[in-house]
């Protein structure tokens, strides 16, 4: 479980996160949605410690992450997996080495054990016989899947995904979404996903938080988001003319 308590963050006097309090539960796929520039990415980067918050508290399980020392954070970070928007795979390593990287750094596993774990993770994301390929040689969807495989290599308790569907076609997006959802339930991970994609919202949103101008504007699930009367959320969900007509029907 991850809790945010009255989190505020500003950049050069411009407040980006305003007093945000949310609880993300384990074993659930938690979605953060909102317009571009609403503060979703800043919120996610603050949660993993890439941005220091101005005030408030971020709690992982029972421990306050925001109050931890560098060393203590390091231990928590070993339990965090993150899927970046662009994959953030290491260019100089091939797929196998990318997935193996956290295992090589943090574990004392033998080469065979590491390879077994890598193969398990790659199998889990439906990638076979690509271990020898470099990131520049694989497609965007494959990069995302390798990124997921690397994120789960260390059996994380917490999985963060920053727009995992950006730049992917709708079918591949659904494959990625379902994969993240399955992994979340299978390993009882606390998963938090930043997304714009309404397909993801409807497909895997166990809990949905709508962020508007840096504030927690609305909270619900994939059913209640369709029936809410919150104007901002309605405008976001039914953005196209087609969807607006559908809502009237």
């Amino acid at each position: 479980m991850i809790k945010l308590l009255n989190v505020c963050k500003s950049f050069e006097g411009r407040q980006v996160l305003k007093n945000i309090s949310i609880t993300f539960e384990a074993g659930k796929t938690n979605l953060i949605i909102g317009k571009s520039g609403s503060g979703k990415t800043v919120m996610m980067k603050s949660m993993v410690g890439l941005h220091e918050i101005d005030s408030g508290e971020i709690i992982f399980g029972e421990h306050s992450f925001s109050k931890m020392s560098f060393k203590e954070r390091k231990e928590v970070r070993k339990e965090i997996g993150m899927v970046f928007q662009g994959g953030a795979l290491f260019d100089s390593y091939n797929v196998e080495e990318n997935v193996m990287f956290p295992l090589s750094v943090f574990t004392e596993l033998t080469t065979k054990e590491k390879k077994d774990r890598v193969n398990f993770c790659l199998d889990r994301v439906n990638l076979v016989n690509v271990g020898h390929l470099f990131p520049s040689e694989i497609s965007g969807g494959m990069k995302k899947r390798v990124s997921i495989a690397r994120a789960i290599a260390m059996n994380p308790k917490y999985l963060f995904c920053d727009e995992p569907n950006s730049g992917l076609d709708p079918q591949t997006s659904i494959v990625i979404d379902n994969l993240i959802h399955e992994i979340t339930q299978e390993f009882n991970i606390t998963t938090i996903i930043n997304t714009h994609d309404m397909n993801s919202v409807m497909e895997i949103g166990d809990k949905i938080v709508y962020i508007h101008k840096g504030e927690r504007w609305w909270e619900g699930d994939s059913q209640s988001i369709l029936t809410t009367n919150n104007e901002e959320v309605v405008d976001f969900v039914y953005a196209s003319k087609y969807m607006k007509q559908m809502r009237k029907i």
Partner: protein
Amino acid sequence: MGFVYHIGRYFLLLRHTFHLPEKSKLFFKQVVHEMNAQGVNSLGIVAVMSLFMGAVITLQTAFNIDNPLIPQSTIGFATANSMILEFSPTIISLILAGKIGSNIASEIGTMRISEQIDALEIMGINPASYLILPKITAAMLINPFIVIISMGLGIFGGYAAGMFTGVVAQNDFIDGILLDFRPFNVVYALIKCIIFAFIITSISGYQGYYSNGGSLEVGQSSTRAVVFSSIVIVLFNLILTKLLLQ
């Protein structure tokens, strides 16, 4: 104000860089890789530059010595000392600042803008130590060998040029090399090149590490890495010369 800010941030980055590596085995593997990338891959350009510079120094010295009272061995003496004291440690370091410095800044800068450094940080790895420390260590270990090779090739280039053009007799050239040879000059050159290796890799690492934006900014970081490394090298060249030779 900006200058003080960058100096402060540079030293803060160095503080993060000089941390014990997560895994020594992985660190040594990276150091060996960097020694190959920075050192072995630079041998070609270093060899060509050194051979020709040695040859040019010999020819220019011979051209300028038209007084019959000055012995021919002066040509060998001038070539050897120019190579050992200045060309090999300083000019080769400036060349390496261009080659290695831009490479390091663009490599780390690209990792920054493509979120690879963020990925390392989230995994619980100290990115500064993981990315920059092996490069600094490798450069400080391999650059003295490159400089020694450069010295040898430069003097050989001078010898060959003298022999083929006939501006100096072989024996006179060799006598000149041996004349008043001071082993401390080699030590001085090696001390300089080790410090220059640190300057090149740490400044370039700093420029790359704090890149932001896109490919344009990475290019600018790469340019800044070369410019600042070169300026700091010539500044430290003066300081070290004053400290070590006087």
